[in-house]
Amino acid sequence: MRLTRRDAVRGGFTGAAVALLPIRLHAGVEEAVEAFTGGAAARTADLTLIAPEIAENGSSVTIELRCPGAEEILLIAPANPNPEVCNLRFGPLTGNHDATIRIRMAESQELVALARMPDGTFRRASAQVFVTVGACTG
């Protein structure tokens, strides 16, 4: 097969569209992140997000969150119909600023967690989870 200039242009556009797709699909995530951080940068440290690499049942995926000293943690599942999963606010009697929870995941995706520290800075962590059978909806 001979590659014409037209083919090359078409291929280029398709490639660009595919490359942009995940960003467009999950545009709501950065909004949720910004609503939480107010646009401040979040360092990837201190915050631990433990999720299974493979989740066979998207209706119930066990997630562990921990961030020593944090005031609040937000968990986001970007590909769910409603990406925000939960906010954890720790009181003075918290033990290790942690929680283990079970969430719904509509499809395979990268979970994002954000933590707000008492000094007003933010932490970020993420974990890729492959979901075999997605939850009907989140």
Partner: protein, 110 residues
């Protein structure tokens, strides 16, 4: 608005030393309808989830959580708490219908 059979279950150690960090496990049986599913007739099942969970120790906050529709049915929450003295851990789940389900567990610290 249908009623549901929501039963809270909590597991808190009966005793601890003062200042010890203990693990608490909680579970509420609740369907957590996300509002996006349909029943057998194809009618939408209205959203009905637990949207707030709160744990306190003699009124002092331990953990407060806002839950969204992405939270799994029968919300399971495990977390840690520091035991400052003997007292009672109180748990409350608030759902969309305005129902509040509560549980309490006493702990003796030595």
């Amino acid at each position: 608005m249908q009623t549901i059979d929501a039963t809270p279950r909590v597991r808190v150690p009966a005793t601890a030393s003062v200042g010890e960090i203990i693990s608490i496990r909680t579970l509420l049986t609740h369907p957590m309808h996300s509002g996006q599913m349909t029943d057998a007739n194809g009618d939408a099942i209205p959203r009905h989830i637990v949207n707030l969970f709160r744990c306190t120790f003699d009124g002092e906050p331990v953990l407060e959580m806002d839950l969204q529709t992405s939270f799994a049915a029968n919300p399971y929450i495990e977390f840690t708490a520091r035991v400052p003295r003997s007292g009672t851990f109180e748990f409350a789940w608030h759902d969309d219908n305005g129902d509040v389900y509560t549980a309490a567990s006493r702990i003796t610290a030595s």
